[in-house]
Symmetry: C2
């Protein structure tokens, strides 16, 4: 199930000048489902990506890093679901590169101008013959208004496709932003999400793209978690096709840079939160705000301890205000000099604990009322500084266990 | 349910000269169940404890630390289940101290000679009037062969009591060791387990007790995890009553010290592993050995990443050899310079992955055969050193979610 996550509205998924997308059924793992996508970019696009920090990063992630570093100008992306091509050693690298070459040959570009992406089961051999057999159909399907079909074609355990768009005025010119993402389990992105792609027709200098991608990831995908399992394949790619008629943005601190970044961050947050709302088995969407810290890093550390606690997550699933579990998670989050007598805990507007103990005015029915809602904010004040941070997560339900006990069968 | 965990054998629970235990039904949370225990110690016992590192440590934990530090000689322990007296602020400290005073008055000792222990729900007010009303009955019940009843009286979500004993010859004298523990969820001890008590009649100098308790905890309770949630109330207490007729042990490195420590570690490991075997909803007992590391700390770090991964745990529950999830956990464990091409993965004797990729000779049916067993060893070789460490854990099942979604109801 998913928490308040309607399917995307196709009219808000703006075509981006310079981007065409094609989708096909290549039968990579199962027959009869869209599982292969190509994203074709006009010459001149600025592209940057951020990728998983998992040391077991997948072969396609390794190639993406290499190809982006070469700077030849990315012209295509090749995305398959059904197989992660991770934990596949040297053979996995050879296979991923082979698919880049095959697509490059058909497009008349170099293999280093192709970025490969894979998602699905880990430690299984990538069936490159099926992928390569599907390329012609995917290319033939390519058009500008295919974002929704691509969002569908990258799904694994996702129950709904995830796609959002926005428009913003830059120097009097309307520019468009569209993004898609996938992911529901193995979600605790570290620099990126499972798979996320965003494109804009705005003009952004190439040197600025990496910073833009990092800042967008930090404010969105790097603040969500479903199960604390950082994937081997997390990839988040930002594309600026530079086709809008405004002067190129050369600083994110300029008025135009700020306007674009704010609009793009809005879309990135929607994409990231959509992953949590569609978290495997999720019945609750939980915002965890930790404030009053010495640093935002320690606020994040506490927020993630709460977000990853199976006991906290099952209490939310049960709508049971067993809120001492939140205090326990705060206590073991790893802040060595944390003073429990400085800590306040709110559930939405309800003050549950004050100065480390139960608030005398707290009534269980007030906690119960909040716990029954589908969207809940936990707010912890550490009482030791002015820093804060926010993390979004979901609960842990029977369906999470079912989905992950049955995923391959 | 529990994994291969029969109820304790009463004939192996040796009475310890100098220790008497009494149990009663005080109605602390629910009527009609044993929930209050007193452990009475003869004068002259050496006592040491290790306690949770959770910064939200419970009021009784704070008092245990203070009372042990005063060194007046511990004469009694007071243990209740049904209420953790954690997250209760200043009021919780006052209440815990009040119960110590009440027991001390009845025994003619000081309140600082009493150690209090609580386990149960967090952030609820300790009902001291019920505890104090039960003291006379508990004291009247005190006898030397009550270890099993005490193991029952400290249970919460445990399905079986946990108690083990051993005997060992020291300088030609037979000494006895008996221990009990409780815990099934909120288990990721950091210096101790939820509650563990061990006693021996061996003669151990007081100055040695802290070191002995630490070394026992490090080799047992500090290597188990059920759900990664470090409790607010973890306490592990080691008692030597000094009543056996051998010369006092003054060094753990002496022959007598080694013999005693080895025997006690055997009991401590059984107690710790019993907690995992009785882990909430557990259907599998999993030993995770990580070797070939630069330090044992990094081996532990990797072992815990595997042990805490919900995806790995649900795969074990499903008996599904979806073993790439283990590689993913190794990859995100936080070793920044880990080289995936050095890593081997074994499931029992089956070589699953070699040099970071799928072993060409690995057949899924071999992995499947191991996964179906109730006791499984995961062995990861990091290929970068000679250090190793071991962690014990269990799987994540529907029953874990049910138990923790329903715990308070």
């Amino acid at each position: 199930m998913s928490v308040h996550l309607p399917p995307p509205n196709p009219t808000e998924l703006f075509p981006i000048a310079g981007v065409r997308i094609g989708v096909t059924e290549a039968g990579i793992r199962k027959a009869g489902r869209k599982d292969l996508s190509v994203v074709l970019l006009d010459d001149g696009a600025s592209v940057a990506g951020v990728f998983t920090q998992n040391r077991f990063c997948a072969a396609p992630v390794q190639l993406c890093r290499e190809h982006l570093a070469l700077g030849e100008g990315i012209r295509a992306m090749l995305i398959n679901t059904g197989n992660a091509n991770a934990g596949t050693g040297e053979d996995g690298l050879i296979r991923a590169l082979h698919t880049c070459q095959a697509l490059a040959d058909k497009l008349g570009v170099t293999k280093q101008q192709v970025l490969p992406f894979s998602t699905g089961v880990i430690m299984e051999t990538l069936p490159i013959e099926r992928i390569e057999a599907g390329l012609d159909a995917a290319i033939a399907d390519a058009k500008a208004d295919n974002w929704l079909r691509a969002a569908e074609a990258i799904m694994t355990t996702d129950t709904v496709p995830k796609a959002f768009g926005a428009q913003v005025m830059i120097d009097g010119v309307r520019v468009s932003i569209t993004g898609i993402s996938k992911g529901a389990g193995m979600i605790r992105p570290n620099m990126a999400t499972m798979l996320g792609f965003m494109a804009t027709d705005a003009c952004v200098s190439r040197g600025l793209m990496k910073q833009l991608a990092l800042e967008l990831a930090e404010g969105s995908f790097n603040r969500v978690t479903v199960d604390g399992d950082t994937s081997t394949n997390d990839s988040f790619v930002v594309i600026a096709t530079n086709q809008a008629a405004h002067a190129p943005i050369t600083s994110l601190d300029s008025a135009a840079g700020q306007a674009l970044k704010t609009a793009m961050l809005g879309v990135a947050r929607q994409l990231a939160q959509a992953i949590v709302r569609d978290g495997e088995g999720a019945t609750k969407f939980i915002t965890i705000v930790v404030e009053g810290g010495k640093t935002s890093a320690e606020c994040r550390q506490v927020a993630y301890a709460i977000a990853h606690s199976p006991l906290v997550k099952t209490a939310f699933f049960a709508s049971d205000p067993n809120l001492g579990r939140i205090l326990a998670a705060v206590g073991y989050a790893g802040i060595a000099d944390l003073d429990q007598t400085g800590i306040d805990l709110y559930l939405n507007e309800v003050l549950v604990a004050r100065k480390g103990g139960r608030n005398p005015d707290y009534r269980e029915e007030d906690g119960q009322r909040v716990m029954q809602q589908a969207e809940i904010t936990v707010r912890v004040s550490l009482g030791r500084g002015a820093a804060f941070d926010t993390v979004w997560t979901c609960d842990l339900s029977h369906d999470y266990v079912s989905i992950n006990a049955d995923y391959r069968s």
